[in-house]
């Protein structure tokens, strides 16, 4: 801290003092320091001026007590053992001392903590101060920089001002110079003109003088005059001659213009030819591209179609008008050319883009199929295709042959027809099903007949029983009661078979086969009716009707019909409800007949078409 003060005192005296004051200011610390350190210091100062002497023990005690009370240790009250105060009541004193020691220790620890804190704080303060100074330095630096910049700006401003003034003066100078130049130029031209005039005057004068002097020397001395180069004689200068000169001039001019016009015409014609050819080629190029482009989108193709139509029309018209006067055709021509050119350009651009795409693809693939392998592959595939074709052809021939040998042409054609084949397949399936059902029915019929035979037999037995019973009854009514009783016991025994079958079985083993069936269906209705049971009842009881019959009813109309017929009371044999196989075959055949007329027609149509096709080109 002292170092700080010495180094920084000059600069920030007041600030640091204030800070130190702030750090030192807490009153608690001050209190502790004052209240704790003073006695120690005092005790160490001098033994003579000690606090307690033998004389003032009591006062001391009272004082200490007071002090203790002020410290909040009221519980321990030090007392003197004797009024003189020589002795001290040990327990409270010790307690007080202990308490004091405790307090002392506590305070010491707090002091330590506080000191640590103080240290920390001081270090942070130091840090802050260093950062503060650094920031101050920076601030100063930036201030200096700013001032420097300000200065520079000022200088630049000054420079600008001077430059502006310079510019102004220069401009002025330029203007001045320009005016000087202009004046000089005018002066020069004026002088030149003057001089020229003078020279002209002098020349005039000179020539005048020369003429006046009648210069003898000025002469031509020719041995003899020459003829004109063209052999003609000289002409007099007359108006006619002048006119003829004019005429000559205009003639030459005219001939020149004519020549130039002719050359231009020739050039024009050639250009026209080229143009026409170009146009033709353009149309030629553009028309297939437009047709190929039709595939892209409907609207587009339509548009294109329209365009190409218009174009062709335009081309035609322009071609027509080309031979006419150029004036009228020019606009049309240029328009059409422009249109076509645009189209061509678009086409070329498209091609370009395609090419670039393809190139990109090729570049990305980096796999170029060599031409040879490609061609080899092509060749191979072609061979394959050829082979396949041959194979197909051979097959067709074979088929044809087979059909020709087995059937007539119509059936052969029918066999070729896929639809009838399918039909046949289906019919075959049905036939199979039908066979199965037929077998089922056969079995059922057998069962039924067996059951009927059994029933007949049982009925016969029953009849016999009844006859015997009636005979017995009759006999009972007669005086031959013993016999009747005997017979009734028989009947009873016969009727009670149901309740005691085991006895019945054990007793009457011989009748076993018959009685089991007999009991099952005769007993419930024996009381109701003695009539013959209906067929469905019979079926039901015999469980001869298959459970899936209901589903079959829905599937097959034919079968349903049969079943409905069956459901009826009249018992028809199952054969009647199905068409006999021979009939079925006939119908099939008929169907076939119906079917193969069509292919024949078709074939005829095909040949006709081909015939027509042959004729079409001619």
């Amino acid at each position: 801290m002292g170092e700080w003060w010495t180094t920084e005192a000059s600069m920030e005296n007041c600030e640091i003092s204030s800070i130190s004051h702030v750090t030192m200011s807490p009153s608690r610390q001050n209190n502790f320091v004052s209240s704790y350190l003073f006695p120690l210091a005092k005790s160490s100062y001098s033994v003579i001026s000690a606090f307690c002497t033998e004389d003032n023990v009591l006062q001391c005690i009272s004082y200490i007590n007071q002090e203790l009370a002020s410290l909040g240790l009221c519980s321990t009250y030090i007392e003197a053992t004797s009024p003189e105060g020589t002795g001290l009541n040990a327990v409270p004193a010790l307690n007080a001392i202990y308490e004091l020691l405790q307090i002392h220790r506590r305070t010491m620890s707090t002091v330590e903590a506080l000191e640590k804190e103080q240290l920390k704080k001081s270090s942070t303060m130091e840090l802050m101060q260093t950062s503060n100074t650094r920031l101050k330095d920076q601030l100063e630096l930036s201030i200096r920089e700013k001032s420097g910049l300000h200065e520079m700006e000022r200088q630049l401003q000054l420079k600008i001002k001077t430059l502006q003034s310079c510019l102004k003066t220069e401009k002025d100078e330029v203007q001045k110079l320009q005016s000087i130049i202009a004046s000089r130029a005018s002066q020069y031209s004026h002088d030149a003109k003057r001089k020229e005039r003078e020279a002209a005057k002098l020349k005039e004068r000179l020539s005048q003088l020369l003429v006046d002097r009648k210069d003898k020397k000025l002469a031509i001395d020719v041995l003899n005059c020459l003829g004109r180069s063209d052999g003609k004689r000289g002409h007099w200068k007359t108006a006619k001659a002048t006119a003829s000169h004019e005429g000559e001039m205009y003639k030459s001019l005219l001939s020149d213009y004519e020549a130039s016009q002719k050359s231009l015409m020739l050039e024009n014609a050639e250009l026209k030819k080229v143009l026409q050819q170009m146009k033709k080629e353009m149309i030629h190029i553009l028309s297939p591209c437009s047709s190929s482009g039709r595939g892209a989108t409907a609207d587009d193709s339509q548009e294109q179609h329209h365009d190409s139509d218009g174009e062709e029309k335009m081309g035609d018209t322009s071609r027509e008008t080309l031979d006419q006067s150029c004036e009228h055709a020019r606009e049309q021509l240029t328009n059409s050319i422009r249109q076509q050119w645009r189209k061509l350009r678009n086409h070329v651009e498209k091609l370009d883009s395609q090419v670039s795409q393809v190139q990109n693809q090729l570049e990305s693939n980096k796999e170029m199929i060599p031409l040879e392998t490609h061609e080899d592959e092509m060749e191979r595939m072609r061979c394959e295709v050829q082979q396949c074709k041959e194979f197909i052809h051979a097959q067709q021939q074979l088929l044809q042959q087979q059909l020709n040998t087995s059937f007539d042409d119509e059936t052969a054609a029918l066999l070729n027809d896929c639809y009838t084949l399918e039909e046949k397949e289906r019919l075959k399936e049905e036939w199979k099903l039908f066979e199965e059902q037929k077998r089922n029915f056969e079995r059922e019929r057998k069962n039924f007949t067996e059951a009927a035979i059994r029933l007949g037999r049982e009925k016969k037995a029953f009849e016999e029983d009844r006859a015997s019973w009636l005979k017995n009854q009759f006999l009972n009514m007669t005086p031959f009661t013993d016999r009747r009783r005997c017979s009734s016991s028989d009947g009873h025994s016969a009727l009670s078979v149901r309740s005691e079958p085991e006895i019945r079985m054990s007793s009457v083993k011989a009748q076993l086969a018959k009685s089991s069936t007999y009991t099952t269906f005769s007993t419930p209705r024996s009381s109701q009716s003695g009539a013959v049971p209906s067929t469905p009842e019979l079926y039901r009881t015999l469980r001869l009707i298959p459970e899936s019959s209901s589903s079959r009813h829905s599937n097959r109309g034919l079968w349903q019909e049969c079943s409905t017929i069956e459901d009826g009371d009249n018992q028809q044999p199952p054969e009647t409800c199905f068409p006999p196989p021979s009939v079925l075959f006939q119908s099939q055949k008929r169907h076939k007949n119906v079917g193969f007329i069509q292919p024949g027609d078709h074939e005829k149509g095909g040949t006709a078409a081909s015939f027509r096709g042959e004729h079409k080109p001619s």
Partner: protein, 433 residues
């Protein structure tokens, strides 16, 4: 290629007759006419003074010899060697003398361009044309020789007069929209007259034969403008070379620019660049004879050959002095080949290069890079073949097939180093003097 012996000449006056049969050379005050096929002297004429200008008449029958210092013109006839004609311009002086296209009139321009005197050899008649303008090309005859266009200056304004050469009748006289007319040139078909302004302003005007203004062309403003103008033989194109080192080609229908040929320092796109490479012949010890040293033929003469350079090629550029008048920059020479297929140009700040342009593809066909500055070049009148010279003893030929350098044999150092200028004249594309 065959070479004759060296003929003496003075003032570089050496001309082949228009029909290609004769060769006229001037030596001091003598005029020597030779038969081209035999090279035998046919006629020898003696003039009154040293000849400063010599010209064949269009029918190859007469030769005009002008002695500007004395203001005299003498005419000689090939058919009649004793026929003579002398024209004295007197004290007024003479600066230029030329034949009219019909070969029967002589046009003399007096000093200070006071007037043009037209002398008729048929009638001895004399007529004056006043106010001719002293400029780059102030007078031009149409190709068929029927019209003459003359630039005039009156009242500080430019005028063009068109005369009928037949009888010197003034056909048209009109003022041109120029500040300071610099030149005029007929189109080869004789129907359009191109007129261009002085280099201070880029302006080319095209007039019809009857004086109507057909079109005006100006490529840019505020800079030095037209430097050279040339019609293509078919009259289809007008090539304009300008100070911005470009050649602009104008078409004859719309009179608009259809192509622009630039002359970049780095040639990047052309078919071939021929570079001349000089090589001193290896002198063997046995050849180091006294004779060789004295004649100096092998020492002074180096052999040249062309090498084809790979593109791009850097062409040497000389920066012109901006403070001097008529800066050496821009396209100064333009020449179309006779078949219209090629155009040869020369850019003044790349004096060692000749550029040949293909007019069908409108592209640069070839560049010929010489070791020294190109003095002049000329097309073969029959074939697409270009001959050029650079002021040494070699002649260079370019054709679409290739390029060749030919050493002109000279006798010792009599002419070799001094031969700065070879007058290029083809005799029907076969021989060359």
């Amino acid at each position: 290629m065959n070479f004759s012996e060296v003929f003496k000449q003075s003032n570089q006056l050496c001309k082949v007759s228009p029909d290609g049969k004769y060769l006229a050379t001037c030596v001091q005050y003598r005029l020597v006419v030779r038969d081209v096929s035999t090279l035998q002297i046919m006629h020898l004429y003696t003039c009154l003074d040293q000849i400063s200008h010599m010209e064949w008449s269009s029918d190859s029958l007469f030769i005009l010899c002008a002695m500007y210092k004395r203001g005299l013109v003498q005419v000689w006839s090939l058919e009649q060697p004793d026929w003579h004609c002398k024209i004295d311009e007197g004290s007024i002086g003479l600066v230029s003398s030329r034949w009219s296209p019909d070969g029967r009139h002589i046009l003399n321009t007096t000093e200070f361009h006071l007037r043009i005197t037209v002398w008729s050899l048929c009638t001895k008649a004399v007529s004056y044309i006043k106010y001719p303008k002293a400029c780059q090309k102030g007078i031009d005859f149409s190709r068929d020789g029927s019209y003459m266009a003359l630039a005039e200056r009156r009242d500080c304004k430019d005028f063009v007069s068109i005369f009928v050469c037949d009888d010197w009748h003034l056909l048209r006289h009109f003022e041109t929209e120029t500040q300071d007319l610099a030149g005029l040139e007929w189109s080869p078909n004789g129907c359009v007259l191109a007129v261009w302004d002085s280099c201070l302003e880029y302006k080319v005007l095209l007039y019809s034969l009857d004086g109507r203004l057909l079109s005006t062309y100006s490529a840019y403003e505020w800079s030095l403008g037209v430097k050279s103008v040339s019609w293509s033989p078919s009259s289809q194109f007008l090539a304009i070379g300008s100070y911005d080192e470009k050649v602009r080609i104008i078409n004859h229908i719309t009179w608009k620019k259809i192509a622009q040929f630039e002359h970049p320092a780095t040639v990047e796109s052309t078919k071939t660049v021929y570079k001349e490479v000089e090589r001193r012949p290896a002198v063997g010890t046995d050849e180091m004879s006294l004779h060789n040293i004295t004649t100096g033929s092998t020492l002074f003469n180096t052999q040249s050959k062309y090498e084809i350079c790979s593109l791009p090629v850097q062409i040497p550029v000389v920066k012109p002095d901006p403070d001097r008048a008529n800066p050496k920059i821009g396209v100064s020479v333009l020449a179309f080949s006779s078949d219209n297929h090629y155009l040869a140009t020369k850019n003044d700040n790349m004096a060692s290069a000749v550029w040949v342009w293909n007019m069908q593809k409108m592209s640069l066909e070839a560049v010929l890079e010489q070791t020294s500055a190109v003095r002049c070049f000329q097309w073969d009148p029959r074939h697409p073949r270009l001959a050029l010279c650079t002021g040494n003893t070699k002649l260079y030929l370019w054709s679409p097939g290739g390029c060749v350098a030919v050493q002109v044999p000279t006798e010792g150092n009599f002419l070799g180093p001094k031969l700065n200028y070879i007058v290029l004249r083809y005799r029907k594309g076969a021989e060359l003097q």
